[in-house]
Each structure stands twice: as structure tokens, then as C-alpha cells.
Symmetry: C2
DNA sequence: GTGAAAGCGCTAACAC
DNA sequence: GTGTTAGCGCTTTCAC
């Protein structure tokens, strides 16, 4: 005996057993208000007793809506994503939606593959920090509702985490502590967030009249940050802001390896606030509401089911600085 | 204009355009060997030109197989899971399977809900650290292929991370460092892994003739660990083994708060090895191959598609100790 | 090797 | 209010 053997009762069985038409059974589940109380009760009773449950695949084929959505991220293991995924999943559940998860491993081709595979079986998709080109994304958006997190393309649904306010706070904070030379350690080159953060950093530093250095770490990993520590020191900056917490954490470790004290000799600021105070010293970081981003994205998506493509929504989430122990006055 | 408007070409359109029957188009995709080279070529050509792609929902309804699976975890944000999820997702892709992700938030009811929702639209499911009762799990296993990770139930497909070898190493390591009194800080009460680890800990300690204390932290979180630090100190133990790395990390922080030096005054051992050396001091921990667990689970699942329920497979992954800087000789 | 036709399980007009 | 009847897009016998 195997599972493929059709054991599950179908709508017809329930109909027969309850002495009604299949459509009536269907209605008993989807629009009970159009039926007599008694009919509904009887049908539901029989359904229950038979262990009947509507088959979502059949429903999907018939209605064209699957009640499934997809969530695609560049790297599940990057600590920024799990809270977002979790929040999105939870929110989706509120709308009775199941969510497919895709991990693109930061590769555009894989992201494309995943989307192609999902496209024909979901009601919509949310792309987090997509690595695809504007054109590719736009093409998918023509085929189905699509919302972007941390990617800013006109005439699309997007929720953006605006690093500017938090970055402004961070730079000001550092300036007030007496730092005159700051370094920015950048993350993935293709990341919208990275570009956004770097720009915000530069602007803020300029306004404060500070000298800036730019260091690129490419991948956003602990190791990559660790390796950047040396260049941070070499830059001559007395404080640095990293693209994200993971990188900052690595820098912390790298500096420790070099026997450079944080925050006494160099101050370090992260971005995302996903590590809490688990680093040592506890990281001063730019908080970014990744949970809210996940939730808003789902709501946005649902609100646009059955809508039309090319609606322009730009939901911006502000950021702010969380001061912990990795920043201090310049010595 | 909205997306629900059927824009995608169907098999019929391709058939008409190519001048063949729908069944032929179907075969061109699924069993081209039964068709003439020319026919296949022509059909595929037309399909391509029309942008036709088989509709997975229709295929699922017709064949009874959806090529989708589900992965359910207690908490996406717990660092143990992301690497596993990632590995599973990747492996699933190799088999051309899409994966639904469910987060039960450690709650049996939610896990049950998720499974109920997934059950009728997937070819199988893998449950990671399930919080469901044996009976419930068994019932689901009757309805579809189901593999368990870190849960040991007879006559089911399971992949288990056996903490015993690593735990043995850890306790021996601690004993060799001169520690005579060890504490175990336990995690979720309903967790199979926790029970397994605690038992392994006790057995190893007994063999070494060591005194043991047991401290329960309930939830496996950084904060929970932090709060347990005090009790670790109070227990009089000079070394402790935590249920997992997250808890250990919290204990590290809590100990620091209490000005208890690690490893000088107290040694701390974690479990999972998912934090790398990102803690301070770098955590000595029991490594557990969560990536392999994810991969094996998917393979096991796929191997059992179309098989029968009640097959007994017990794939055990060994563990070993990774020594870093959070353990040292007793002073 | 290819076609015709009967479903897969459900929904959605359209009748009555 | 409830039943009838077409499909939704594909697969799969069974013929030829």
C-alpha cells in the first residue's frame, strides 16, 4: 500500500452521502450563507464523518488561485533574513496562505530559476534583496503580483528600509564622540541596501565635515568582516560603520586579533540590529525593523491580489541608532 | 487588466499551432522518447515560441503528485535551523522540488495546523524537532511520506543527530581539565534532542565519576541563557554544558555580567556549532552536521515517494567536540 | 508513433 | 436555495 492510492474522499462522495449536488457541498464550504442552515449542517456533518477536506490543488486549478505565495531571499543563513522570514510566514498564515521559500545563494541565475518554478503555482511573490536586474524583475511583475523588499524600482510594490535616518544618527553620534575620520565597510556590490547605506553614510559625513574611507568586503559574512579589520586600521579611521551586523561582528573579531581595543581605539557601528547584544562588546547598530518589513510586504501583496501590475507603492520604514558598547569617544 | 486573466498559453494552443493532439504535446515534454524526433522538435519549437510551459497545478491534479514538499521547524530564527533549511532547500532543488516552509513557533497546535494545511498539496514533509505527540506524527505519516529530524519514533523515517559521542568527548575533555562538578543547562522540555543530550551528559559524567547539576532554561534563547548564568554559578559547578549554542552564548554574557571569567573561573561548552567562533571567548562546542541532516532528510524523503508507510529507517549522524577558547583547566 | 476521450476534484455560470 | 453542466490544463488508457 502506498500514499498515491486515492484514499481521500472527494466532493462527490460527500454529495452522494449527503444526498445533495456537488455544487452544494462546494458552497457549504465556500459560501454557506447561500444555503439553508440545515443543508450546511448536514453537509458538514457528512464531510466530517467521511474526513473530507477540499483538495487545494483542484481548487487552485478551478479558480486560478492557489492560496500559495513565494518568498525568495539571497541567503537564509544570513541573520538578517530569518526574523523577516518568520514574520512574513506568520503574517501569511493570517491570510491563510502557504509560503514557498527560495534561497538564491546571492546568484541571479538561481533566483531566476526559482521564480520560474514558482511563477505558475503561486498567487504572488515577495523578493527580498533581489539580485536580479530591473528588467527581469519587471518581467515577473507582469506575470503576477510581486513585492520587493529593499529594492527600489518605479511602478512596483516595494517596502524599503531607509537607512538614512539611522545612518545620520550614527555619523552624528560618532562626530559627537570626536571622531573626524570614518570608514564605511561595504557589503555585496549588487545590493540596493549597500548602495543606499553607502550614500547615506557619505552624505551624513559630508554634512559633518568628516573625512571618509571606503573599504569593500564583498560578501556579507563574519569571515569577510574579520579580514577587513586590517584595512580598517590601515585606513587611519578611528571609527567605522559596517554594511551589516555580520560584517561588524567579523570586524570586531578581526580587531581583537590585531589587539586593537573596541571601543577604546576604534569604534564600530553595525547595521540591521539582528544580533542584539550578543556580540562583545555589545554592538552599536542601526536598527531596521526587519520584522515589520516582512509583515508589510505580505499585506501589500495580499492587497494587490487581483489588482493590476504597475501600481506604484513605496512603503518606507525608518531606521534609528541603537547605542550599545562598541562606540566611545576618540582617544 | 489583472493577473488572473488567463494569459498563459495552454497545451491546447500548442497542440493546435503544431497541428498535433494535446496528448502529443504532453508527451513531447514528459516522454519524448516515444515520439519521433521531428514531432518533438516541432512541438517544442512551437511551445517555445508561444512561451508555453506546463502548468504544475494541472499536472498535480492529473497525476496526484505536486513536486512540492514541506519543511516544518519550531523556530526559523534559531541559528540551528537556517543552515539546515538552506541545505534542505538546495537538495530539494536537485530533485526539482519546491519547498514550503512552516514555522511552528514551538507550538504543537500551530505545527498541527501547518501540517493540515500542507498535507493535501505536497508529496511529502520533513519535520524538524517536532513538538507533536508520537500519535499525531504517526497519523500524518499514514497520509504521506514523512521524515523526522531529531525525533525518534519506531517505524518511521528519521535522521537523528546523536549527541552522545560529542557529549562523551566534551565531558572527557572537561574531566581531563580537572573539573569534578559539571552542570547541564537544558533546553525545551518537549525536545527530543534535549532529552537525548541530557541523558548522554549524565551517562558520560557518571562514567567519569563526576558530580552533576541540572539547570533548566526552558526556551532556547540568548536571554534565557543569560538568566541561567547565575544558577550555574550557584550550583557550584566549575564547568557547564548547554543544550545549544544560543543558550551557551547567553550564559557567556550572563557570566560576564557577573564578572565571572570564562574560561578561567568557569568553562562553558555549547552544542550545535552554528555560531562558529563569533562568540567571545570562542565557544567550545559539540558539532552536529545540521547541513548533512537537511540533505539526508530530503534524500530519504524522495527515496520513499511512492513507497509504503511504516518503513523503519534510522539515519544517525555522529557528533564530535570542537575545542575553542571557552574551556580551560580548573583553577 | 499518434490521436480520441475519459477523467483528476473542484468551481461557477446558468437554470429552475 | 439547490441542481446541471461546463470547464480549469493536464495525463493516461485504449485504439488505430
Amino acid at each position: 500500500m502506498n500514499w498515491t492510492g486515492g484514499k481521500r474522499p472527494t466532493i462527490s462522495q460527500v454529495a452522494a452521502q449527503a444526498g445533495v449536488a456537488r455544487s452544494t457541498v462546494s458552497r457549504a464550504f465556500s459560501q454557506p450563507e447561500r444555503l439553508t442552515r440545515e443543508t450546511v449542517a448536514r453537509v458538514l456533518e457528512v464531510a466530517k464523518q467521511l474526513g473530507y477536506t477540499p483538495n487545494p490543488v483542484a481548487q487552485a486549478l478551478s479558480t486560478g488561485r492557489s492560496r500559495n505565495i513565494a518568498l525568495v531571499v539571497p541567503d537564509v543563513a544570513n541573520p538578517f533574513f530569518p526574523p523577516l522570514i518568520r514574520a512574513a510566514q506568520r503574517k501569511a498564515e493570517e491570510y491563510d496562505l502557504c509560503v514557498f521559500l527560495g534561497d538564491s545563494d546571492e546568484k541571479p541565475e538561481r533566483e531566476d530559476q526559482l521564480l520560474e518554478r514558482f511563477a505558475s503555482q503561486v498567487d504572488g511573490v515577495v523578493l527580498v534583496s533581489s539580485r536580479l536586474s530591473d528588467t527581469q524583475i519587471w518581467a515577473y511583475a507582469q506575470r503576477m503580483p510581486l513585492v520587493l523588499i529593499n529594492r527600489d524600482i518605479d511602478n512596483m510594490l516595494r517596502v524599503l528600509i531607509d537607512s538614512a535616518p539611522g545612518m545620520e544618527d550614527a555619523v552624528t553620534h560618532l562626530a559627537e564622540l570626536g571622531h573626524r575620520h570614518l570608514a564605511y565597510v561595504s557589503g555585496p556590490a549588487t545590493s540596493w541596501s549597500n548602495a543606499q547605506r553607502r550614500t547615506a553614510f557619505r552624505n551624513a559625513a559630508r554634512r559633518q565635515g568628516l573625512e571618509v574611507s571606503s573599504i569593500s568586503a564583498n560578501r556579507s559574512t563574519y569571515e569577510s568582516g574579520r579580514k577587513s579589520a586590517e584595512r580598517v586600521v590601515a585606513s587611519g579611521a578611528t571609527a567605522c560603520v559596517a554594511f551589516d551586523d555580520l560584517l561588524a561582528q567579523g570586524i570586531l573579531a578581526g580587531l581583537a586579533d590585531l589587539s586593537v581595543a573596541v571601543p577604546e581605539q576604534i569604534s564600530v557601528v553595525g547595521c540591521d540590529d539582528v544580533l542584539g547584544s550578543t556580540t562583545s562588546p555589545a554592538l552599536t547598530t542601526i536598527s531596521n525593523h526587519c520584522v515589520a518589513a516582512g509583515e508589510v510586504a505580505i499585506s501589500l501583496l495580499v492587497d494587490n491580489f487581483g489588482g493590476s501590475p504597475a501600481v506604484d507603492v513605496r512603503h518606507v520604514l525608518k531606521t534609528h541608532l541603537v547605542i550599545r558598547n562598541s562606540t566611545a569617544a576618540r582617544k
